[in-house]
Symmetry: C2
Subunit: 616 residues, 2 copies
């Protein structure tokens, strides 16, 4: 079957299809479908579309239902026209784009409820018998289109353009309305063109989702490394850079917004749209990145008592941020919860609907900082656990990020096995493999509860005995040689050292202590937790069994673990597509109680206990 | 009695006083007074002020009520301290400035109701046990101070400064709040400092009133010629310049805003304040000047059907206009009524309260364009009459503006007499004198109903006969020599020529036709008009009797004429001091029906009839 692409205009909604699909099937597939009187049997003639590219000869049914002028103009019936080549078609009826489509993201259904609305209207001609200004006539033309005309306001730069805009478009304009504000006026009817970008800005990676704001459809996904990394790999070093270097804040702010501008351009290009067609941007990020994105110095987040400048959700003019989208657009910045539990966690909660859940759920977003939320509709508590870089593969002897050449999983089943990203010879190991490796050492009795390798002669498990030879001396301690020098890409062995185990212990101890303390704060035991949701890249990649064996997640919960993909990205999409959901995010962020681990009584003891392993 | 000045700080409220006045009397005089327990008899010690400049020795009563440290710091009791030299004192109790003072302007009483409010608060220290952002703690500190904290929003540039502002002011800040928007944060308690400028921007002159927004007191009046005049003397030539010249609009916009900036600086200097203490600017102007001030091209006002871009009242960020006041301030632009009945007329109506009046009133603001409003609480109609430049002394043979050297009044009583502005030898005549002169010609039977000078031999009135010699030939017609060459400053005679009379006929005909047509629109006769209010400089300067004799105003109404000063300026002040009145202006502008004279049936006939004179 040949893979083809059909692009629906306006909106540049691109849909991959196989040859022979009808245009109507493609519309249904993309959320642009509509119920037509005849049910798509070529009888009612209501499903007209105009073929702009890829036009073929009309059929007898087309000829029956359409005039010869329509046929000449490329009008066809969507229900009977098959797609045999790449096509671009223009949707004729505005009804074919409906605002109230259910979208589906991370198991959550929600109604699309655009922040901005576009209203096409025809403005009355001015006359001597009435003394109505351009603004007055524009407002009157908008009445009855669902905007509150009475209180409508427009920014001065737009008012300056008003007389020219109205006259050059022959009194037929599309108004871009946000609440009681008129943000833009465009010539003609542009109602079908409303794109947006949802951003999940991580410390390391920026992911952007190009969305159709009318249909809720995801059109493209683009991503890039966060160029702020050049000024510091983690949030603390960026806070320092922003606070100490002259223009440091500005450099960090520009680094992220310029990267976003590139992603916006790239995504728009891919679907044949312009950045001017983008009217909304939503942003989920941790609190430090959130502040840097907004150009707010995050200095106070970096020192006790770790307060942010602002947590509240914000609606910002893209011009204030240097974001290059339509000037009538708006930027929707999700609210933070606290200095180290940011808008990314709010986005995760938005996607998971923890606050509506009857049963107690543990949500883990594990990274250099692990954000942990525990709760249900009755109560939610959150904390941030400073796991350090071990899960990212950093400060590990042969550690690396989860990129080509990384060993990503290890199993000790019938003999040692591992998988390599990209399938070539390995270069190093990433966090998920370190987890598997250490979990294996625990299960095979190769380390003690303090994480120390046992001397080879003390091993008892037959599987461990088979691996005895791999225990080698490294920098005065034992290490486990995972791959010998001859098998690696660089000709050096790949090992898991005593030090690597220590690093992992600190990391998992921090997360586990956070979970433990949240349980205490809620007054519940492990068994009361009915579901564990793992969000984020690492959470989706790790082996849940390994996580439980090393005690990153309580063992009792192994069968209750579920991965939920890039929940922060999904939350950003939801916030972009629904004004109601964006406003719900504010309630959500406010409903979560933050527990500051460092000042929690007995934290050091709980942390130390959790760095240990439980041996069977 | 020596004239002295006392300045109250903060707020730089300057009060002229005579020597020997007590500080408390000056406070009462300026609206800063307060009721003290002892009634100002030096008993309660509550009326402390701190003398910053002009300190004299304390009295025995001071010594009784104040500590020696207070006396050293310059603290004195306001009730017993007499002003014997220029002084500056600082008011100690915020209660001494109250918001609800009645202000008095153009016979209108209204309550001061500031657009912006200043709230001093002490922000809680951040703590580890709470995860409250700076913004959250600031909002909580504002709760209970009458601002709606729930919906409070702040612009991004302010949020960027928030952490620094809070910390550098030791958590004690004054918030500048406008509706649900936080516009500024200032260190310490600055609540007493709230100045504003009300502007009446005329085609020729700009007048600015520096007002204390707390007390409603007028502190200074400053004025300048409108520098837009370099691009055209009247609104039509400025519309042409804005439309045709490249950057013409920008030049006209900058000319007016830069002049306003100079006036703001001048007025602030005069009271020892800074432009940064100015938080509000209100603007009344005709529709063309209104548009040019806002940077909106007034092109469509200049051609049929003469529509404006916007009439609605506006609240604008001063930065968008280049106005140099406190960045947390706002600019309040009064609404227009139509293309040629502008916000200046709305301001006049705001000051006169026509819409609350039981009896029918005629409001005239006479200039190059005469704005005429007729009505009562039941109905109001307005028109704009193109009087041309005669009233301004332009296009008159020896005409000039009402400046030094202008003959401003002429009487034909016991012989010809005239007065000259500045009292020196005359240079020319201004509009009010032209009115008097032609009125005299009518009363003495020296011109016929068509305005033509009678040949000297046809004069009959004894007073006219005495003036016979003054009738001279000028450019082929008769002219009246008002001042002979030897008596003028430039050695040339000053005359009223046949052509000058024609110019006046066109001007008064236009206004009178406008009045007539508004009467027709209302279905009323002259006698139904119970009051005539003359606004504006010319209206205040002209001799009402002369105006009635020449038929500028119907003769029946002579005894009902009242001048109301610069009512547009008063309206601008009212709009600046009261948010309620500013919002009432919107209703007011919307309630006035505009009559376009040019397209009124029979206009040409009515106009022609009204260019004639009525002879007894």
């Amino acid at each position: 079957m040949k893979n083809l692409r059909i692009i629906f205009q306006p909106g540049a909604i691109s849909v991959p299809v196989t040859a022979g699909t009808t245009i109507m099937e493609a519309m249904n597939q993309s959320g642009l479908g509509e119920d037509f009187p005849c049910g798509g049997r070529g009888k009612c003639g209501k499903c007209r579309v105009k073929v702009i590219e890829g036009l073929e000869d009309f059929t007898a049914i087309d000829k029956d239902r359409l005039t010869s002028q329509e046929l000449d103009e490329g009008i066809r019936l969507a229900c009977i026209t098959k797609i045999n080549r790449d096509m671009m078609v223009e949707i004729q009826s505005p009804k074919q784009l409906q605002h109230n489509i259910l979208s589906h993201s991370a198991d959550k259904q929600f109604h699309i409820h655009p922040h901005l609305s576009k209203v096409f209207s025809e403005i009355a001609q001015p006359s001597l018998s009435e003394h109505k200004s351009d603004w007055q006539r524009l407002k009157e033309s908008l009445a009855g289109h669902g905007c509150s005309v009475q209180d409508l306001q427009a920014p001065l730069p737009l008012l300056r353009q008003l007389p020219e805009r109205i006259r050059e478009s022959d009194n037929r304009v599309t108004s871009v309305v946000y609440g009681s504000q008129l943000l833009g006026i465009e010539p003609g009817d542009t109602g079908l063109t409303m794109l947006g970008m949802a951003f999940d800005i991580g410390t390391t990676t920026i992911v952007g989702y190009l969305m159709d704001l009318n249909s809720g459809k995801e059109l493209e996904v683009v991503s890039t490394l966060n160029p702020q990394a050049q000024y510091g790999g983690d949030v603390i070093s960026r806070i320092t850079f922003a606070g100490k270097e002259e223009k440091g804040l500005d450099a960090l702010h520009k680094a992220v917004t310029e990267a976003m501008n590139r992603l916006i351009g790239e995504a728009a290009d891919k679907v044949g749209a312009g950045r001017n067609q983008i009217y909304g941007v939503s942003v989920a990020a941790n609190t430090t990145i959130h502040h840097l994105f907004l150009g707010i110095n995050p200095r106070t987040i970096g020192m006790s008592p770790y307060v942010s400048a602002i947590n509240q959700g914000l609606v910002v003019d893209p011009a204030d941020l240097g974001l290059e989208i339509n000037g009538a657009g708006r930027v929707f910045v999700l609210p933070n919860i606290a200095g180290f539990v940011g808008a990314d966690t709010t986005a995760v909660l938005l996607a998971t609907e923890l606050e509506k859940s009857d049963h107690v759920t543990l949500v883990l977003d594990i990274g250099t900082n692990g954000e942990i939320v525990l709760g249900s509709k009755n109560r939610m508590v959150a904390c941030s656990a400073a796991a350090g870089p071990a899960f990212e593969g950093a400060q590990i002897t042969n550690g690396m990020r989860g990129a080509d050449g990384a060993i990503d999983h290890i199993s000790f089943g019938d003999g040692l096995e591992y998988t390599v990203i990209g399938n070539g010879r390995p270069i190093g190991i990433c966090g998920s493999a370190l987890l598997d490796g250490v979990a294996g050492f625990v299960e095979l009795g190769m380390i003690n509860k303090r994480g120390k390798f046992l001397e080879p002669e003390k091993l008892t498990d037959p599987r461990a005995l088979k691996l005895m030879d791999r225990l080698v001396k490294y920098e005065g301690a034992l290490a486990f040689q995972l791959v010998e020098a001859g098998q690696t890409r660089h000709g050096r062995p790949i090992m898991i050292t005593q030090n690597d185990i220590r690093e992992l212990q600190l990391a998992k101890g921090a997360i586990a202590a956070g979970v433990r303390i949240l349980q205490e704060a809620m007054g519940i035991e492990c068994n009361d937790i009915q579901e564990v949701l793992l969000a984020g890249a690492f959470g989706n990649y790790l082996n849940p069994h390994s996580a439980c064996v090393i005690g990153l997640i309580p063992r009792e919960l192994e069968n209750r673990i579920k991965t939920i993909g890039n929940a922060a990205g999904n939350g950003a999409k939801i916030a972009l597509l629904s004004a109601q959901e964006f406003s719900r995010a504010e309630d959500l962020a406010g409903a979560v109680s933050f527990v500051e681990l460092g000042s929690y009584p007995g934290f050091n003891t709980i942390f130390a206990e959790n760095t240990y392993f439980k041996l069977d």
